[in-house]
């Protein structure tokens, strides 16, 4: 025990004497969390739109007014023909083009329905669907409005036998204000803690190896378990501190909801960090130079992060990828965080994944101990 304690102390001294590293370890997560929480949003506002209005009637210009009134679109150009439309899309001057054909009003009055064409720049696919749904809701809203005001030539207005009206009420639970930060801040916090923790541990042993100090440790009577434990503990404490700072920022700056029990979050974080840091140490034992360990660590970090549901929903991934994602500790931790913080879930819901994380942590650490060789090959 005393051996571990001394080694832990040595690691702490080593980290805190390197001012640049200390600065980086704490500042990078804080700054990135503060800045990037504002960047990670699909909330589409004020999409640049070009309207080609061949109809030029009160009905068509009413539609343009409705588009302009909402906060989703801004009509940057209003043209009578579609000359120059392609170029505007190509130059990214506009994202959406609404084409109102010549017989728009006439079709509405005569047939009760009229087509319009909506051309979207699908280059940024994620937003295309959202822009489309905005446009659709404005169009159907306008159609409903016209239903009341437009004199219809159909003569159907006499057939007012009682028709059951549909009363579709929609509710958004857990995040009714649609604050994207509530969703992203926990995710960003997890990714930052993971990146820093994994990189620091992955680089740690290879560094000692490169500098030759590993040899010195190897000739001491310390056991392999003591060695790995001493390498794990300092970074585990550091990561927990970073995690706590981030959580505090989330609460104080972004006001993220904390509906569940924070102790559950910490329990999950404690188990999760053992997995991540254990993997870092594992990488560190199988690579020889810092350059190599960095690349392997980077490789895994990227896969873990992008396949975790942090940025894109796991449910949308193909089945095989969803099964692979089951083995991804980041995915489980993120879903635990979101379940507890946003939906107020308790141990009865997230207990099993926490146990899973703990088991994985023990297994990963065991592997790192086994892989680590005191003798030089």
């Amino acid at each position: 025990m005393r051996t571990i304690f001394f080694l832990v102390r040595k690691e702490f001294l080593q980290i805190f004497r390197d001012r640049t590293t200390v600065f980086q370890i704490f500042m990078i997560p804080v700054v990135q969390l503060l800045v990037l929480a504002n960047a990670a949003t699909f909330d589409v506002k004020r999409v640049a739109m070009l309207v080609v209005d061949e109809d030029r009637t009160t009905v068509s210009s009413g539609l343009v007014q409705r588009l302009q009134a909402g906060r989703q679109f801004r009509v940057v150009r209003y043209l009578p023909t579609d000359a120059g439309v392609d170029q505007a899309l190509l130059n990214r001057d506009v994202t959406a083009v609404l084409h109102i054909p010549r017989s728009f009003e006439e079709d509405l009055v005569r047939r009760g329905r009229a087509p319009v064409q909506l051309v979207l720049n699908a280059e940024e696919g994620a937003t295309t669907g959202i822009v489309q749904s905005y446009a659709n809701s404005i169009l159907s809203g306008y159609a409903k409005e016209l239903d009341q005001t437009l004199p219809l030539a159909r003569g159907a207005s006499g057939v007012t036998s009682r028709v059951a009206p549909l009363d579709l009420r929609t509710q958004r639970w857990y995040n009714p204000s649609r604050n994207y930060k509530y969703w992203m801040v926990p995710a960003l916090l997890v990714s930052l803690t993971t990146i820093i923790g994994l990189l620091l541990t992955a680089q740690n042993i290879t560094r000692e190896n490169e500098l030759g100090t590993l040899e010195q440790l190897n000739v001491t009577p310390m056991t392999k378990i003591q060695f790995i434990a001493a390498k794990l503990i300092p970074f585990w404490i550091l990561s927990m501190v970073i995690f706590s700072i981030g959580l505090a920022i989330g609460k104080l700056v972004f006001g993220i909801p904390m509906r569940g029990n924070l102790a559950v979050v910490y329990l999950a974080a404690a188990a999760y960090l053992i997995v991540v840091l254990g993997m870092g140490l594992g990488i560190s034992t199988i690579t020889r130079t810092q350059q190599q360990s960095m690349f392997v660590a980077f490789f895994f970090t990227l896969i873990f992060l992008l396949m975790s549901g942090l940025f894109t929903p796991v449910d949308s991934m193909p089945d095989w990828a969803q099964q692979v994602a089951e083995a991804n500790p980041v995915k489980h931790f993120v879903s635990i965080m979101r379940a507890v913080l946003m939906r107020g879930a308790g141990l009865e819901t997230v207990g099993r994944p926490i146990i899973g994380l703990t088991v994985a942590g023990v297994a990963v650490l065991g592997l790192a101990v086994l892989r680590y060789r005191k003798s030089v090959a």
Partner: protein, 367 residues
């Protein structure tokens, strides 16, 4: 010149002798593109939905079947009471619930109103919006078929998706991944290779040699340009053959822009390496410092147009942002230099700036 060539040769040998790193470097981008091209998608599918139907009849059966038949939805639970909906949401077993009124058939017959509730787990506002759109479209259509006679006005939007008609996710992500992977690999590699010389003390030796600091930097960078270029080629081949990502513009232009961007990223790595003392700080700066900003401020995943103004300005200094526009422009839109000259010029400017700053920093630090 001879000394310089010798130096380049030394660097190349360095790179080639470390087989493990070389293998990682070459395979890494290809593997990433393959995995993410398949796995990273933004379309919403397989929504787990629960349906509360107190009195099942022909009309509600029809609706339930329509929901089940849609490949967007996966009906995981059907019940007669909304009592334990909240638990199901909290557990995460359902993400959406459709609560139907009782006696739907009779209500339609009598012309009473049909209060249908659609509850969505709104934690993720974007996905929630899309889920609500899909579900209400199904309900609307069912209502229109089930309750005839009400011919309300309709404006039908025919959507056309330009540049990516099928909205295939891989076509959007693969160009982004090229930019992303190139940034990290190139910047990290140079940063590490220069700081390693510092850490092991061999940088001092190089600086006292007759080779000028600028030449040292150039010599360090040249082998990595070649390596980066090979990566780009492999990634492009994978993108074409595996995902069928279109290449509508000129291949030559794409390759030329890629070389330009590789140099930008390498210059970034040089700059990082001159500012930090050892490999640890270099890698934290390159990875922790570059990874998320490149991911989030380049338009790779999140649209730049919706960022707050300050962040939009900040994104201007992220090189990947410009390169991403170029790659997407060439591959998806078939744009040429006539459209992309601004982005290209900005990248050239950035590279110049980074190179000058980097080589100066090097000379001053150890000089």
């Amino acid at each position: 010149m001879r000394a310089f060539l010798g130096f380049v040769r030394k660097e190349t040998l360095h790179l080639l002798r470390d087989r493990q790193t070389l293998a990682i470097l070459i395979l890494f981008p290809v593997v990433q593109v393959l995995i993410f091209g398949f796995a990273v998608r933004t379309d919403v599918r397989d929504i787990q939905i629960g349906i509360v139907d107190p009195t099942p009849d022909v009309a509600t059966n029809e609706l339930r079947e329509r929901v089940a038949a849609s490949d967007r939805f996966n009906v995981v639970w059907t019940g007669s009471s909304a009592a334990d909906l909240e638990t199901r949401f909290r557990e995460g077993t359902i993400r959406q619930a459709l609560v139907l009124p009782s006696d739907v058939e009779r209500r339609i017959g009598r012309g009473d109103s049909l209060p249908v509730q659609l509850i969505t787990d709104g934690s993720d506002p974007n996905t929630a919006g899309i889920m609500m759109g899909y579900a209400s479209a199904i309900v609307d259509r069912w209502y229109r078929d089930e309750v005839p006679g009400k011919g309300s006005l309709r404006i039908e939007a025919q959507a056309r998706m330009r540049y990516n008609p099928t909205l295939e996710s891989s076509h959007l992500f693969v160009p982004g991944l090229i930019a992303f992977v190139l940034t990290i690999v190139s910047a990290l590699m140079t940063a590490l290779s220069i700081t390693r010389e510092k850490e092991t003390g061999t940088m001092e030796m190089l600086l006292v040699s007759p080779i000028r600091p600028k030449a040292i930097v150039a010599g360090k960078v040249i082998p990595y340009i070649a390596l980066g270029f090979i990566s780009v080629l492999l990634v492009l081949v994978a993108a074409r053959t595996v995902f069928g990502v279109p290449l509508r513009g000129s291949l030559f232009l794409l390759l030329a822009e890629s070389v330009l961007y590789i140099i930008t990223a390498l210059a970034l790595g040089i700059l990082i390496s001159t500012q930090v003392p050892n490999q640890r700080t270099a890698m934290i700066a390159a990875l922790a410092g570059l990874m998320l900003p490149t991911l989030l401020l380049s338009g790779f995943i999140f649209p730049l147009d919706s960022l707050p103004k300050v962040l939009q300005w900040l994104s201007y200094i992220v090189p990947a942002r410009w390169f991403l526009t170029i790659v997407r422009g060439i591959m998806l839109k078939g744009a040429g230099l006539a459209t992309l000259w601004q982005e290209t010029l900005i990248l050239v400017g950035m590279t110049m700036f980074l190179l000058v700053k980097g080589s100066r920093g090097l000379a001053i630090r150890l000089g």
